[in-house]
């Protein structure tokens, strides 16, 4: 299949290198890569500095936060093929949980986290169960509606702050010597990074096993997936709920850093931005999604001097990107999966099956 060889892309090269590496090399690479991520806040290079805003703060939000959310949305849109345009709603639910419980109860960040995630997941179930059987475009509109409804609800409900939102959200308690204050985004970044790495680990495990296969099947051909015995309803709701959980995590962390939230922060633009990260990076591919998120979150900050037409540039970039590279920067593997064990496979054709 020569046409595939000629389209060898970055992701495949990287994947091939990884697969050919012995275990020790893989571990070393992983540790190295992770260490770099933790060390990022200390980087001070004019090439990547963000004029107009603090680099470390940008690293936390929007870069780190978008990466996390893009990974979450990727499960829904990228792997399962469910068009979700209202992802920000789950982010908002996480943030509002932190805000409300943080200001009205004595629970701290770590205690509120599971509640926020739980509420986001619950909303995922409530929204997903009736709507996930809708066709793609309709699901997009309905989820968009849900995102807007959550925002409008927050704006119009004074008991949760109304249009003015909620202020005075407490910071997380100190961890050893690290203090969480508005002045220093580093501890927040590290907490976010840790959650992100944990979630990446979980997602990759699922993707390599039955859920991942089920989602792939659903994305490619829902009808046939059912006929192959996959309970598509269950797996679609699961994808939705897991995506919601990830956004919930992000929301809780976000609220505890920014210390005051207003409903208009959680608008459609964010849903679209995260979706763009997923699509830009290459649907379904975790690394591509991360790359897409980094690019889309970082670039506007880097080019802040273009502050006025920033969003316009973004919109145009979306159109250009989709027309030139609809599969994203690092599309899902196009080449064959390489496994050294299969090189010596013999074809018998006369095998017995049980």
């Amino acid at each position: 299949m020569s046409d595939m060889k000629s389209r060898l892309n970055l992701r495949d090269r990287g994947a091939e290198y990884w697969e050919r590496s012995p275990k020790w090399r893989r571990v070393a690479l992983a540790i190295f890569f992770i260490a770099i991520c933790y060390a990022l806040p200390f980087l001070n290079n004019p090439l990547i500095n963000t004029p107009g805003s603090d680099f470390q703060s940008v690293l936390f939000y929007p870069v780190g936060m978008y990466v996390l959310m893009a990974i979450g949305l990727n499960i829904v849109v990228g792997k399962s093929g469910l068009l979700d345009l209202g992802y920000v709603a789950f982010f908002a639910i996480g943030a509002y949980t932190m805000a409300i419980l943080g200001t009205k109860t004595s629970l701290n960040f770590w205690e509120i986290m599971p509640i926020g995630v739980g509420l986001a997941m619950l909303s995922g179930v409530l929204l997903g169960t009736p709507t996930l059987r809708l066709r793609g475009d309709y699901l997009a509109i309905v989820t968009l509606g849900f995102g807007e409804i959550v925002r409008i609800f927050a704006v119009n409900t004074d008991s949760i702050g109304g249009a003015r939102g909620i202020a005075g959200i407490p910071t997380p308690p100190d961890i050893f010597k690290a203090k969480f204050t508005i002045l220093d985004p580093k501890p927040y970044y590290w907490v976010l990074l840790t959650f992100t790495l944990l979630i990446i680990w979980m997602v990759r495990r699922m993707a390599a096993r039955r859920p991942g296969r089920a989602w792939d099947a659903i994305r490619q051909d829902d009808d046939v997936a059912q006929l192959m015995g996959i309970n598509t309803r269950k797996y679609k709701v699961w994808a939705f709920v897991l995506g919601a959980a990830v956004a919930g995590v992000g929301g809780v962390i976000y609220a505890s850093q920014i210390l005051s939230i207003v409903p208009d922060q959680f608008n459609l633009n964010i849903s679209i931005l995260i979706l763009a990260c997923v699509v830009f990076g290459g649907i379904g591919n975790v690394w591509g999604v991360i790359l897409g998120a980094v690019l889309l979150a970082f670039t506007p900050e880097r080019i802040r001097f273009l502050s006025q037409p920033r969003i316009l540039v973004f919109g145009v970039a979306l159109v250009v990107m989709m027309n030139l590279r609809p599969d994203g920067i690092l599309p899902k593997k196009k080449r064959e999966h390489f496994d050294p064990n299969w090189e010596t496979v013999e074809e018998s054709g006369e095998g017995q099956i049980k």
């Binding site: 849109v77 093929g81 068009l83 009736p130 709507t131 809708l134 066709r135 793609g136 475009d137 309709y138 997009a140 509109i141 309905v142 968009l144 509606g145 849900f146 807007e148 409804i149 409008i152 609800f153 704006v155 119009n156 009808d223 046939v224 006929l227 679209i272 979706l275 763009a276 699509v279 649907i283 006025q308 037409p309 969003i311 316009l312 973004f314 919109g315 145009v316 970039a317 979306l318 159109v319 250009v320 990107m321 989709m322 027309n323 609809p326 599969d327």
Partner: protein, 317 residues
């Protein structure tokens, strides 16, 4: 919740609802036509509408020299101004719609790209247009001059029937009738219906797909442009973000009536206009969008075919 208001002002509200519904119906025609031929929700259609409103604005002040503080015109001058603004709005929207198709959709369609990629491209166009207008209007809404004196023609059961709204309802009805004739009688119209039913066979029968699609977008744009003019005639202002909620409502109307179905779009538009106006009276205007969405979700869950449409959710194996 104020049911008393609904009860007391019922006919007045209903009349207003019909006027709003006429606007929705015209916009939803665009959604339903494009969905019929491309099986695609044209996200940028709301901006096609928005541009129509600004075109009407430019026509009024630029071409006809009307200023906001002027007195309303009368007689021939008034009719001429109205017609020019309407025509300019319709043309501007139609051209925008066609450009959107060429820029955002055509290439992806010809490459067989995924629904998601097309959706993102459409959203990109939508964002770009909104942002562009936000920048040139400096985020401020724009007022439309009163070209026509708004008089109450008569009263019926407590409802004051205003002339501009009557014009909107009647004119919209005429346009929809004209479109329907076009779709059923003309050659291009038949092409549109053929492609809606079966694209590959249509191609084999010699239908020029690109031309059909361009005409579809053009026709939808014309209707949206008319809606834009009527909107600005009644509400007398516009802004860069006027398209969003109207677009969602109009889309809801299309789905309500049965997407892909012209009659459905008409019916859905009027029905939604009524429902929204009534519920605004009861729940207040802040929740209007929520009501629309809830209606949309209910329709999709209970009867996804809409009131007149056919099912597009059948499995095909």
């Amino acid at each position: 919740m104020d049911f008393a208001l609904l009860r007391d002002a019922f006919w007045g509200l209903s009349f207003d609802g019909l006027a709003l519904g006429a606007i929705y119906a015209l916009i939803s025609l665009g959604y339903t036509l494009v969905y019929g031929v491309l099986r695609l929700i044209n996200f940028a259609h709301s901006e096609v509408f928005m541009i129509g409103t600004f075109a009407a604005l430019v026509a009024a002040s630029g071409i006809m020299g009307v200023k906001v503080e002027d007195d309303p015109r009368t007689g021939v001058s008034m009719i001429l101004t109205l017609i020019v603004c309407l025509a300019v709005a319709m043309l501007a929207s139609a051209i925008t719609a066609v450009l959107v198709e060429i820029v955002a959709y055509r290439r992806l369609r010809q490459r067989g790209a995924t629904k998601l990629a097309t959706l993102i491209s459409a959203i990109g166009v939508s964002i770009s247009l909104v942002e562009f207008f936000r920048i040139i209007t400096d985020s401020l809404p724009r007022e439309f001059p009163r070209i026509m004196e708004k008089t109450f023609l008569f009263s019926y059961a407590g409802a004051d029937i205003r002339n501009d709204k009557v014009i909107v309802i009647v004119a919209a009805g005429l346009m929809m009738f004209a479109l329907e004739r076009f779709i059923t009688k003309s050659r291009l119209g038949k092409g549109i219906r053929a492609v809606s039913m079966d694209e590959s066979t249509s191609t084999l029968m010699g239908v020029n797909i690109n031309r059909v699609i361009t005409v579809t977008f053009f026709a939808g744009g014309l209707m949206a442009g008319a809606a834009a003019f009527f909107y600005i005639l009644v509400y007398e202002n516009t802004s860069f973000k006027v398209g969003f909620f109207l677009g969602i409502s109009a889309f809801t109307a299309a789905v309500l009536g049965g997407i892909g179905n012209l009659k459905g779009a008409l019916f859905g538009g009027f029905a939604l206009g009524l429902m929204e106006t009534w519920s605004s009276a009861v729940f207040g205007t802040a929740w209007k969008a929520v009501i629309s969405f809830i209606i949309l979700v209910l329709v999709l869950l209970i009867k996804p075919t809409g009131l007149f449409g056919e099912s597009i959710q059948q499995a095909r194996v």
